[in-house]
Assembly symmetry: C2
Homo-oligomer: 399 residues x 2
């Protein structure tokens, strides 16, 4: 900024605004990217006259178009861009379905964000650009001119962990203006590698809530998004641990500690927000590891949550002996289902690597006659599914 | 994430954690960058075996080291990296003073963020990586293990503009736990091209406040950071206007409308937070255009603010006839200084292009005998100065 603003403000203060200064101020790229046309036709552009090769990678590259070697884990889908005489490389993907997509460019072997698209999200240690092809559920992921809730980064103390930790708290539109009204609470938990920012950013939870509450399809509620990594007080860069994400050791995600400290999260929430502090007005849901946490927390504290959502959930702990939390699965489920929760909602994609684990878990619930709702979707262990699951789960809560 | 998480969680659910999966999960770069050593020695690394050239650009490149052509506006400072046999390009800068720095790489002519550093901030249309060389004031910019305030994105309605608009609100640690205590308020305004995120992100205002309040050098206060672009309800991507930053037209920043709507901001704040709602407990300050706004708002509403801070402020409007707000400068200043503010604080760098405008304004205040405090610093129109000014200004408030 410091190289660019001064010239521009100078023209403001002392004369007309020049086009050159304008470009300098905004550091505008000579291309627009991505360009989203009709029927999901999307063109990606980058000005890179000196590059030898440019490729697109991301979930917007259909497998049939990609240089695809069949290994979905090790090799991302890639699509080459073609260079024009003006130094702009481009590629067009047709017929993208309505969805939030993420992508990067690979320029001469280096994975980069799109210089023309400032909208990027961090997912663990990767930063990817995002765009939305409108229509269908994807319209719930965009910001519309509707009443907006407040999104706050809030620190709470836990004696169990012995730390101050950060959570993201959504309070619905109207929370500040009507001081008498009390609200139910959804605790919404991220997956492995995520943090307290994951659901509000990659998950578009705040946009989904704003839009569905405005449409009247979802009850106004408070949503608390915690950090499930016990040794990380907050997302990378947001705590005294600094910027570096964890490397070789996981920050204690599945040793029972997070589950054991959860009553402190609920007490903090009930103590600091206008909640309806009873089981009938509490829900807990999460994706992947967050589904694992939701399952184990809800059976550990059977009087706490009446609505439970397992989105592509991991089920069994790595080490069942790691914590008392993981002991006596049968007995704890029996206590939880002695008076069945208002909703026990399980969703998973047919291609999810956790599909079989969820099938086995459902068979166990079936054998005991414990009621649950089951949703099976296309696809695997991906944010597209978790956003969709959230839009299906929310209307079922607190009704 | 979707290509990487599954394999990893599979190992978690069913067996030992493999080193390969670990690398896959974190998408870890084969280098660490930047590496910050003793005495500000900082090494930048990028793995780019197929690249033909890599350069470093940013405020961490000392002019004497840069390929510098003397035009600070048009040509950013650049420093070439050198490629090793392993495909890693590197360069070391010695003796960086304690500070928050920002940088990018330029790979084969394309300006990119550092793939090994997920910490990046958007400044208008540019995304740059950041790092902090510790020591001195820079320690105030880091997150420490001290009580943290809450940082909220809040929407308010304004009839003057006819829109819902977003602000960033900082409430100090303890705000939630002691429900009786009331606080003074600082309104902190961004510069041209900025938005409601600028001070909390580039300006490190929330870290500065947490650290200085914890040290007892600053009074606990609420800080309200508005969006000064009248036609932008929120930062790019955060409103229904979508992702694209403004191009040819400025979003109505200096036509008097923002100043005229400010009493609604104050009324919303006093109505929704536990403020001390009087002049003696209100401050307003801003950088550049935000200093301009602070000057014009505080004289337009002389009973509203007792503490005023002009950081590298623009002074005179482009078009004095654009609004009644800009009329009768002499008369309005006379009313504002009839009972002099508790603090009227002017700071500017000797290299700032607005230095002469501020000198002229001070001469005018001197001629009238209006008291103010003046701080002159090194440097120009840069965030380094604005962060420093904030650390100097805050301890003077509400004492």
């Amino acid at each position: 900024m410091k190289h660019r603003i001064p010239l521009f403000i100078a023209t403001l203060a002392f004369g007309a605004v020049g086009a050159v200064a304008q470009q300098a101020l905004w550091d505008r790229q000579p291309v627009v990217s991505p360009q989203i046309g009709h029927n999901g036709r999307t063109t990606f552009n980058i000005f890179a006259p000196a590059a030898d090769s440019v490729a697109l990678t991301g979930d917007c590259v259909p497998p049939s178009m990609a240089e695809f070697n069949g290994n979905t884990f090790a090799v991302p889908r890639m699509l080459p861009l073609v260079k024009a005489d003006n130094g702009v490389w481009s590629v067009t993907v047709d017929s993208l379905a309505p969805e939030l997509y993420s992508y990067n460019f690979i320029v001469d072997g280096v994975k980069i964000t799109d210089p023309a698209n400032v909208y990027a999200l961090r997912d663990i240690s990767s930063v990817t650009n995002c765009f939305i092809v409108p229509g269908g559920n994807a319209d719930l992921y965009s910001v519309h001119d509707v009443p907006h809730g407040t999104v706050a980064k809030v620190w709470y103390h836990t004696d169990t962990i012995g730390a101050d930790r950060r959570m993201t708290v959504y309070t619905p539109a109207g929370y500040e203006s009507d001081r008498a009204k009390r609200y139910p609470v959804l605790y919404l938990l991220h997956g492995m590698g995520g943090d307290e920012n994951a659901w509000s950013e990659l998950g578009r939870a705040t946009q989904i809530l704003d839009n569905m509450i405005a449409a009247g399809t979802v009850e106004p509620m408070i949503v608390v998004m915690t950090n499930g990594n016990v040794d990380m007080p907050a997302a990378p860069g947001e705590s005294h641990l600094g910027l570096t994400p964890p490397t070789t050791d996981l920050p204690r995600t599945m040793d029972g500690t997070f589950e054991s400290h959860f009553p402190e999260v609920v007490a903090f929430t009930d103590g600091n927000y206008r909640t309806i502090p009873d089981k009938a007005h509490r829900a807990i849901a999460g994706l992947s590891m967050g589904g694992f946490h939701s399952m184990h927390i809800s059976k550990q504290y059977p009087d706490m949550f009446d609505y439970i959502g397992l989105f592509s959930a991991a089920i069994l702990p790595r080490d069942p002996a790691a914590s008392e939390v993981y002991s006596d699965l049968d007995g704890k489920l029996a206590r939880q289902f002695a008076e069945a929760p208002a909703l026990y909602w399980i969703a998973i994609g047919r291609d999810d690597f956790l599909y079989n684990a969820n099938t086995a878990y459902r068979a166990m619930l079936d054998a005991k006659g414990y009621p649950y709702t089951y949703v099976e979707s296309d696809g695997g262990h991906i944010w597209r599914n978790w956003r969709n699951y959230l839009t299906e789960f929310l209307p079922l809560l607190f009704r």
